[in-house]
């Protein structure tokens, strides 16, 4: 009897705790929405999102500059990371000798755990001077080095391990018989990879890229350290950018004295949260479709 009561009690307790993740998601959305209500009530959403006039002391809180900063930095990171990661995963999964593969897999895992702030240090010490002294002069422009390109490179290197780890796993799930069938028909290794393996693995690889992208998108510290943080829409990759997470991190301390400042910043946080939510729903829909097509 006591055992059954214990079982029921523990079940109820665990159920309560199991509700926590869902509750946190709701609390986050509601909490951030509640705190950004004052500014949403005072200004139309279109002005907040599409005006680039950011003058908190005059009560103007256009987030457009920062949204563009985030988009630029993420786009550059993705443009660098995708081709490199795809080729590298293809090499590691399809061409590399087994020994090498066994060595690199744990190494990639290890690297995936390195804190972003360490990547930021590398960015400040290596990437920024490199761009300032070599890359920018080569392109015929002058740049402080703290720019979109620097942030993009640092982010790309940061998401390498994440994307490669998942893509290699995905490529490994493609059955060998498929490869053999293609090779038996006289296709070269590369033709097999391109027309058979990649086609099979595409949805998983896309999921890997989305995973990396969402990590790059919300990354704060590494970007904050190298992006330059100038509130202007960048025109080239050598211009500084001021992405949303960097804005929140930099201004959150001083916000309490200016009216509506905290509202504007928490609206920025809410925007980040909503994008993550949308990406997740989309990724889930893709994965469900993939699972169904496999079955």
């Amino acid at each position: 009897m006591i055992r059954l009561v214990k079982d029921k009690l523990a079940g109820a307790g665990m159920l309560a705790l199991a509700g926590v993740p869902g509750l946190v998601v709701f609390a986050m959305i509601l909490g951030l929405y509640g705190r950004s209500r004052p500014i949403l009530a005072a200004k139309p959403l279109s002005e907040l999102l599409f005006s680039s006039s950011w003058h908190p002391l005059r009560g103007e809180f256009g987030l457009f500059t920062f949204i563009m900063g985030t988009l630029w930095v993420t786009a550059v990171a993705v443009a660098i990371a995708i081709p490199l990661c795809l080729l590298a995963s293809i090499y590691l999964a399809e061409y590399a000798p087994r020994r090498l593969r066994e060595w690199t897999a744990p190494l990639i895992d290890l690297l995936a755990g390195i804190p972003s702030v360490v990547f930021g240090v590398w960015g400040v010490l290596v990437v920024v001077p490199l761009i300032k002294n070599h890359v920018a002069p080569l392109a015929g422009v002058s740049s402080s080095g703290y720019c979109v390109l620097a942030a993009g490179i640092v982010l790309a290197v940061m998401v390498f391990p994440v994307i490669v780890h998942v893509s290699v796993e995905v490529l490994k799930t493609v059955p060998n018989e498929v490869r053999e069938a293609s090779l038996a028909l006289g296709a070269t290794r590369w033709q097999t990879i391109r027309h058979v393996v990649m086609r099979k693995a595409m949805p998983g690889v896309i999921a890997a890229v989305v995973l990396g992208l969402s990590r790059a998108f919300g990354e704060t510290m590494a970007v904050l350290m190298v992006a330059g943080n100038v509130a202007a829409v960048p025109k080239t990759v050598f211009d500084p950018a001021y992405p949303l997470p960097a804005l929140i991190a930099n201004k959150y301390g001083e916000m309490l004295s200016v009216p509506m400042y905290d509202s504007a910043l928490l609206l920025a946080a809410l925007a980040l949260l909503m994008v993550v939510l949308l990406v997740n729903v989309a990724a889930r829909a893709i994965l469900l479709r993939v699972e169904r097509s496999v079955q």
Partner: protein
Amino acid sequence: MDARKVEEFVWKTLAAAAAFALFLSLFLIMATILAKGLPSLNMAMLTQTPRGGYYLGKEGGILNAIVGSLYLAGGATALALFLSVPIVLYLNVYAKKRSRFVLFTRFSLDVLWGVPSIVYGAFGFTIMLLFGLKASLLGGIIAVALLILPIMSRAMDEVVRTVPHELFEASYALGATRLETALKVVARQAVPGIVTATLIAFGRGIGDAASVMFTAGFTDAVPSSLLRPAATLPLAIFYQLGTPFPEVQNRAYASALILTLIVLAISLVSRVLARNLTKHIVK
């Protein structure tokens, strides 16, 4: 030569070059951190707190950040573990498979996994304002615990899901209740997974800066209570790298090296433990 062979050669070389570039860049990061960190590392760095203020003072070390980070990540990991284990056991033992609640909870964990850490920081701070808490070790612990909860739960969930169904049935057939099955069969099977999940979460928690920026604050002192602010290694790097003084920057480099070493050590330990603990697991 055959055009197809040329194509094959070109792409294979490109792929190898990409893999090489990738490892080279990551190797360069490690080399940079080592080259900058090792010269600034000494006993005083590890055993003293900064003197004259962390931003300006040229003497002292980073003890405040090392201890602060360990307290904070340790507390957050304990809190997240306390939540994760019941969540995962409930999802896998008590709840009906593929029920709405299970799907929703897993989806929520996925969403939380993707939420940027700065959002946890902002949200955590909002909650702290609600309760009238100032930037403190406790605030930091709560924010980081929320941040690592999805990482830990998902990692555990992956492992617990692989516990064979026959084991459940054998346990129920012997008259065990669900609680007994959960604690004595499932949890035991999942020990390696729980250990690695905990260590991964600790590694993520100790390395995150954005979530502790407003919630834990920063201080020169080693925190003496839960309600005092706490310094952390990532923020020690961030703040002290930004100063014009080389002596202060050295503290940032030393912090970066220590943090990297801690994270790598944890990763290695979890690998070894996972291998050793899986010996007695029923597959």
